[in-house]
């Protein structure tokens, strides 16, 4: 638990008790110092990063102006982009065969740029996994560019599980294979990396990128948009292997051509300076304050374990959406016995300073997102609240 202690310190969490003014159950005294943000995204960012960002708005040390007055062609900003890239390379121990790009347009633009690059002129279909809301969105966009073979589809079973490796029968000639490592809406996460050694592997890691170590070497292309663990909304990281750059068709719109961005070191046109700067600070925080991705994963595992334990111990009052082996460490999705009770839960949670817990609009229910910057103290406060709420309502007529 050394990691947790360090985490408390670096988030400057104090352990004062909170009192829920709506109730006075003396058995429950979950810790709370500030409102806690469980939003699915834009979600929480680390407090020290927010503080440094705030200072930089008016004055960047060593510069005549603040963050919003500095040109994207300045040496200072080139250094910011270079450090963000270097931090990501170090955190992932990434080989030189990959370019690290900072783009605009979010995961949604990557849903199109990937098949525009690899499928539009391919004689073979691309293979996709349909494991939830976001992988479906990726498939819709891919189908505009060429044939898609859905290798496995969890829709009929309500997107509650993920395929085992033995269930996936790849075509070694496929244009590429695409999956979403973590489905934020349904709270499903791969705990291994599916794929076939002969098929280009492409992954949307938007919601778990930099939350744990992983081996990048089997991947042809990885993308991750903010704002989850990475930085503020408005920037998307793409990690692309050199052989993929060689496959980019000629005469694409420049903004959709990975080569243009790689060639210009991510500053092809006016870059989103603010979003990239904060991303640099987040990656620096991960490297220096957290100590790396193994440490981050240990903290994230502990947070998720506490919350899933609260669900599992609730005697069916809280019901997890995902099958246990597919549970996400990032997004914990569960329901209560009725929509009316869920509304009451959300309202009372906000009164207790616990925000952003409504499920995605497509699924309803409750979702607690436990991204890197969500503190163990926040999760502990949530679990305390859940226990209080259960004891109060489990035998009521409303349950």
């Amino acid at each position: 638990m050394e990691n947790l202690a360090a985490f408390h310190t670096l988030h400057q969490v104090d352990l004062a008790f909170f009192v829920n003014t709506a109730v006075a159950d003396q058995r429950l005294t979950p810790t709370k110092t500030a409102p806690h943000n469980f939003s699915g995204g834009p979600g929480a960012l680390p407090q020290p990063v927010l503080e440094e960002t705030q200072r930089a708005i008016m004055q960047v040390p060593g510069q005549p102006f603040g963050l919003l007055g500095i040109s994207h062609r300045s040496t200072w900003f080139r250094d910011v982009v270079d450090e963000a890239e270097a931090n990501i390379r170090e955190l992932l121990q990434l080989s030189d065969r990959y370019s690290v790009l900072f783009l605009q347009g979010g995961g949604s633009l990557q849903f199109s740029m990937v098949p525009i690059t690899l499928l539009r002129h391919s004689p073979q279909a691309a293979e996709y996994l349909e494991t939830g809301y976001w992988s479906h969105r990726a498939i819709v966009e891919a189908r505009r560019e060429g044939p898609v073979h859905v290798l496995w589809n969890g829709r009929a079973a309500g997107f509650r599980s993920l395929p085992a490796p033995s269930e996936l029968h790849h075509n070694p000639e496929a244009a590429y294979f695409h999956y979403v490592s973590n489905e934020t809406v349904e709270g499903l996460q791969f705990h291994h990396s599916p794929g076939h050694e002969n098929v280009l592997r492409v992954c949307d890691m938007s919601s778990d990128f930099l939350s744990r170590p992983f081996d990048a070497s089997p991947f042809a292309l990885i993308y991750a948009h903010a704002q989850k663990n990475l930085g503020p909304a408005g920037v998307t990281v793409v990690i692309v292997r050199e052989d993929i750059l060689e496959r980019v068709p000629d005469n694409l719109p420049a903004m959709l051509d990975y080569r243009e961005h790689a060639c210009m070191g991510s500053i092809y046109n006016t870059a989103p300076v603010f979003a990239i700067y904060v991303t640099m600070l987040v990656t620096r925080w991960l490297r220096d304050s957290v100590g790396g991705l193994e440490e981050m994963e240990a903290i994230n595992r502990a947070k998720a374990a506490e919350l899933y334990q609260a669900i599992d111990a609730s005697q069916g009052f809280y019901r997890g959406h995902a099958a246990p082996e597919a549970r996400s460490l990032m997004n914990v999705v569960f329901s209560l016995l009725s929509p009316k009770l869920e509304q009451r839960f959300l309202a009372q949670a906000e009164s207790a300073g616990l925000y952003g817990l409504a499920g995605h609009r497509s699924l309803g229910g409750i979702r607690a997102s436990l991204y890197n910057a969500v503190t163990p103290a926040a999760v502990h406060a949530l679990c305390g609240f859940m226990e209080f709420f259960r004891l109060r309502y489990q035998d009521s007529d409303e349950a």
Copy 2:
């Protein structure tokens, strides 16, 4: 001069004198209170906007979190987008026939989205004006999608002038007509709106949007990326007429389909929350503090007049790039007698607190960008410095 007085007040400029420590010419006492930012972009933003942004980073009034902790699907952010749109509509007196969209990808993505929408399936060529660096970039991207007829080209004459209406012979059947209202690199600006009543008129207003009033009614589509007058880098405004939305081809990538963005009120996917929020503050500042676009234009005209006067009165020491009738109010581009003298000018200007004056990397020389947030005091300080520099070097061997 009432506008200038008001502008001083709202920028909280005090009129203390500055002393250039490198020199002590007592005839010259230009005003200076802080470093001044003449960058071509990202450029200066209004000081009150920066201050409010800084506060919002940690705490948005009435919200549990700061700006970077609030979901793009929150009511609060919907209101931010709606106010930014309403402010732009009010400033431009825009008709309901237009949608106002906040997108990612900059002008560069619009260079492609416009011809993807209007040229890819058109039997007719699109008409473009090649008036400088940025219109050339737009033409390169348009040619990927279909035939382009360059109606007028200023390249052979060094991009120093703009066409008179009588020089433009439109084909009434053209797919559309595209021009750049202000060329930031060469410092050229249209002071009328070229076009033909039967041809869809499309304009890149990136660098003079919201710097002056204009009649939007002849336009089919207008786009403007930040960071010039609009807000911080990372957001692009598109104003698109309803009949253009009806012409969007089916099955485009969703992120390139104006209809998707219009249908979702600019929140199709995770929006660049920060950039749109600051854009809302800038438009609010224009409306409430400046008083509107007529007032803004009067201030901008006075600033540019003082600087062009300094060039014209320099007996050829400073040489303006643009023909007088095509001079930009936004970007004042000039050269000195030698590149060596220009380097000295830039270095001494920085010592005097005057930053961002290097010309665009494609042209060299000097460029002073006078966007909305650049104060008259800043321009006055620059003119004072220029006079000092001229007196010191005009008879030296280096000149």
